[in-house]
Symmetry: C2
Subunit: 204 residues, 2 copies
Amino acid sequence: MSERGLLIVLSGPSGVGKGTVRKAIFDSEDHDFQYSISMTTRQMREGEVEGVDYYFRTREEFEAMIEAGEMLEYAEYVGNYYGTPLTYVNQTLDEGKDVFLEIEVQGAQQVKDKVPDGVFIFLTPPDLVELKCRIVGRGTDEESVIEERMRVAREEIEMMALYDYAVVNDEVPLAVKRIKRIIASEHFRVDRVIGKYIKMLKEM
Amino acid sequence: MSERGLLIVLSGPSGVGKGTVRKAIFDSEDHDFQYSISMTTRQMREGEVEGVDYYFRTREEFEAMIEAGEMLEYAEYVGNYYGTPLTYVNQTLDEGKDVFLEIEVQGAQQVKDKVPDGVFIFLTPPDLVELKCRIVGRGTDEESVIEERMRVAREEIEMMALYDYAVVNDEVPLAVKRIKRIIASEHFRVDRVIGKYIKMLKEM
């Protein structure tokens, strides 16, 4: 029985190490997901390959795709667009393969709106776990500094609330192991498998 | 930071092998759950030990506990009560340990009503996956036989809908591995961890 693949979204605050964890997952031997290549309007850099590192497009081409509803998510960053084309993701999911996106939090929010049954994993900075030490510091900081840290922590926790899972990135191999287990387990969720049983019964 | 433990409920249709899978989980080395011992009014059998195999109680004692709301779930089977006392489960969860229940489907329904944030795992017969072959058989069966098989399959699928996960018991070691992964992953669910972050922020 073929099922639709899972859309897996890895995101988290900037600087948390999303790219490193994603690379480690795809470098590991027993992974079984397709990586969705992003599209961008920024200049190709030395050594980069079209369709491997990014799909490189002009600003006009990118905006035409947004207009036509062909982007699953996108954001503008330092004057350039970055985003995920919808077609590849949908085709791959229809083939029953899991698609893995590693994107910024704004993009993850857009994907959540369009694909609520995706698996949303928030990578947490290790120091969020030691929140108190991090915010209060050595007790010698100005109140304004402490308040700013509180604000950032509050923002991170608010972001987290949109996700299904929160994985601490304390050690990359551990984070990789946790994420792989989460994805394996998600395949056994009743709301993902019960439809095929009901369909089989109806067809008889 | 201490968290409350998870209440894990393994159930499924009778004859699916719940007991075998549960034993294999508790015989495995790296499991980390507490097994909740059931209470019963049936006679103690040769070799059974009070507080190990069951808590053995009289019918009056058992009914007094039901009356006092001290049973998490119970059922009557062949003239005897079987059930799960609430106190041990709550104490163990409060200590931050996961509690594992292996119970019948009627009991699982009662637990779901009382502890909706438990992890409910439905063990699926391997032949539910080959539902069509199983129901239609070799194409030589009476219509009434086929209809009865359809009814049973429909019942099993209806039961499954109440659970979070459906794990096929095709091979016991595989089922054990899947269940352990599910439990590990459930610890990373945002709705289980976000509360402690919010609490920490509030306390500062």
